[in-house]
């Protein structure tokens, strides 16, 4: 049975087993989503948006679809995957099931808790009705699949005028309890007027078994809200990830979505921003450092619908061995969106002889009084810089690493949490295979 057929029959099993409330409006949404998925199927390379990313190799497995009960994981075994140097709220899932033991949630003044709880309790119904699945792309079959199977994930609802005292970590572990597993976390983040929230998200496999994660996150930033979302993608070679993040911003809000892609077999990031007000700032940053046969596809969309908004996009990629990358950055500026500033930059270095990158800036500008720019470069290591460093006594390997580190540094510098910045820098040093000769 193909994965698609398996998923559709699993959906029916879910309905029949009474796992979901068939009479609710929510179930109506699930049904529509699975029907859409059934029509659309998984994307293939014939789809323009998937031209350079084939899912064939990740779809061929016989995935388990429903999470089992929580497997035991000791904190000390997984401590290193947390940014543990600082106090944080934590929403932790093991094999798709909430781990109360590893988590630190709250309802004190705001809700940092679970999607499963929000789905069950009437008091969350209004928030879900107002926000859930309202900005997720209905044309995206994989997002529809996630919607159909929404069970668990982070539910974050912050009211007005709250500056969170500490960041929130959303961590998904996979223990290898099943041979091949499909995980579909669904996160909802609603940030009220004037509130500030920082989120660090990570997906980590603890075994060599195959895992495919299809994650969807919807983020709503109300007026003057500030939201920073950081995604650490450093999973092992048998883990693949399709991550879709949809962001809606109201007037004067500032939101950043940042991806750090160093690991995994295949990673696809869809990041889409929609503006619903003036004087909005959107920041979207990413760095990919790949080797072996790894593949990362960054697909971004920033849709400027209102005047006087700004967007800043910066993606860097370092591709070694036979790794492959895709960057597709779409910026749409509607006719009404005068005085838009939209900047996009995508720089790539190919180190491996067989490494490739397909980069496609896509600007669709219908307003005339705007400043929009894009720059895209694909290059190799600067040999004169290599010689300069070597002539100072820095060996080739270290010189190369230092140059690559410097190349990526512009993205790392944008991280607002110092401990996270240190962590990302260390991950980069590890990935480049060097001990950088200075404190970082």
């Amino acid at each position: 049975m193909s994965l698609k057929d398996n998923l559709i029959s699993s959906f029916m099993v879910m309905e029949n087993r009474g796992k979901v409330d068939l009479d609710s409006g929510f179930h109506q949404m699930r049904s529509e989503a699975i029907n859409a998925f059934e029509k659309q199927g998984f994307p293939t390379k014939k789809d323009e948006e998937w031209k350079y990313t084939s899912l064939n190799s990740v779809l061929k497995h016989d995935y388990s679809i429903f999470p089992k009960s929580e497997a035991a994981v000791e904190f000390k075994e997984v401590k290193k995957y947390f940014v543990h140097e600082i106090e944080t709220y934590k929403i932790v899932f093991i094999d798709g099931v909430y781990s109360s033991f590893l988590s630190e949630t709250t309802h004190d003044g705001y809700d940092i808790c679970l999607m499963s709880a929000a789905l069950k309790k009437p008091k969350y119904k209004m928030v879900l009705d107002n926000y859930f699945n309202t900005i997720a792309d209905k044309e995206n079959s994989i997002t529809n699949l996630n919607t159909a199977f929404t069970m668990e994930g982070a539910y974050i609802n912050i009211g007005k005028n709250k500056v969170l005292p500490k960041p929130i970590q959303i961590v998904n572990f996979y223990t290898g309890s099943e041979k091949d597993i499909l995980l579909q976390p669904r996160n909802l983040v609603v940030v009220g007027e004037n509130s500030h929230v920082q989120i660090i998200e990570r997906h980590q496999s603890l075994s060599d078994n195959v895992v495919l994660t299809n994650a969807v996150t919807e983020i709503f930033a109300n007026k003057r809200a500030i939201v920073d979302h950081y995604k650490i993608q450093n999973d092992n070679d048998n883990a693949s990830m399709i991550d879709s993040t949809y962001v809606q911003q109201k007037a004067n809000s500032i939101v950043s979505v940042n991806t750090y892609s160093f690991g995994g077999k295949l990673t696809r990031n869809n990041v889409e921003f929609f503006h619903e007000g003036e004087h909005i700032e959107s920041h979207i940053n990413g760095i990919s450092i790949l080797d072996k046969k790894q593949h990362v596809d960054n697909h971004t969309l920033i849709h400027h619908k209102f005047p006087n908004c700004e967007s800043f996009e910066l993606y860097k990629g370092i591709f070694d061995a036979s790794s492959t990358g895709v960057f597709n950055g779409k910026v749409i500026v509607d006719q009404e969106a005068q005085k838009t500033n939209a900047f996009q930059q995508n720089n790539n270095i190919l180190i491996g002889d067989k490494a490739t990158i397909n980069a496609k800036p896509q600007l669709e500008i219908f307003a005339d009084d705007v400043k929009c720019s894009h720059g895209c470069t694909i290059g190799q290591l600067d040999e004169s810089a290599m010689f300069y460093m070597q002539s100072r006594g820095i060996p080739e390997k270290e010189a190369k690493a230092l140059l690559l580190y410097a190349f990526g540094n512009e993205v790392v510098e944008k991280i607002k949490i110092p401990e996270l910045k240190t962590r990302i820098t260390k991950l980069i040093a590890n990935k480049l295979g060097v001990k950088l000769g200075f404190e970082i």
Binding site: Y388, M389, I394, E398, Y405
Partner: protein, 245 residues
């Protein structure tokens, strides 16, 4: 210290150096002058190991050992230093971090422990004062947005930090105003000892007023066509290069 024997080198099929012979002893300062295109910069690149140039004949011997098979970093570990005519900008790496890495790599190669952070800072303070460098340059990205003069000063600062046995200053005077030139020359002079040697590559005589050479060599079409004392530089300044061809 350095012996260059019948050195032939070039890029691809084009010969640039066509039989250079030169001996530099410890404690000496040699100036290499010559018109544009005579091979001055190629010579410094070949000595420091730039792989863009191919050595087709001859040898470069440092302290009785051929260095032609060594990589640029290995030569640096043996005490070769070149001050670049056009120092490279490296955004994202601060001057401090760069020089720390360079020093510790050299120490590692020579079987020494890393220099303790406290000593490193002291050394940096001392040497940057010698070059009258504004401390804020040290925390900025290496050479990024530096003026020509600042870049050259930074080169000599790195030289001061690394304490090379053989320093090659490639057109260090270009892009320097007279005040900066004096500071840079003063820095070089203070670093001179009986154990190290300096090769000054320059187009003009001006720098040699401040870094006084023991020997002057004139390079023309890949060969040393004339050698003499410091008065040769003055003669060249007065007469130009034409009479020597």
């Amino acid at each position: 210290m350095l012996k260059i024997e019948n050195l032939h080198a070039g890029v691809e099929d084009k010969g640039i150096l066509k039989g250079i012979n030169l001996e530099v002893k410890a404690g000496e300062v040699h100036a290499i002058m010559g018109p544009n295109g005579s091979g001055k910069s190629t010579l410094s690149s070949v000595i420091s190991g730039n792989e863009a140039f191919e050595v087709t004949d001859g040898d470069v011997i440092l302290e009785d050992e051929s260095v032609l098979e060594l990589s640029p970093d290995e030569r640096a570990h043996k005490g070769v230093f070149m001050s670049f005519q056009y120092p490279i900008e490296i955004p994202g790496v601060s001057t401090t971090n760069f020089i720390k890495t360079a020093i510790n790599e050299k120490r590692k190669a020579n079987g020494e422990e890393e220099l303790p952070a406290k000593d490193m800072l002291k050394l940096i303070r001392e040497k940057s004062a010698l070059l009258e460098m504004d401390r804020k340059f040290l925390s900025r990205s290496l050479n990024e947005g530096f003026s020509g003069g600042e870049k050259k000063r930074n080169e000599i600062f790195q030289m001061a930090m690394l304490e090379p046995k053989l320093a090659i200053l490639d057109e260090t005077d270009s892009g320097l105003d007279i005040d900066a030139l004096k500071i840079v020359a003063n820095g070089v002079n203070k670093l001179r000892t009986k154990e190290n040697a300096v090769i000054v590559i320059t187009h003009y005589q001006r720098l040699l007023d401040y870094i006084v050479p023991d020997f002057v060599h004139v390079l023309h079409d890949g060969k040393i066509v004339k050698s003499g004392g410091k008065e040769l530089a003055l003669e060249l300044e007065a007469k130009g290069y034409d009479w020597i061809k």
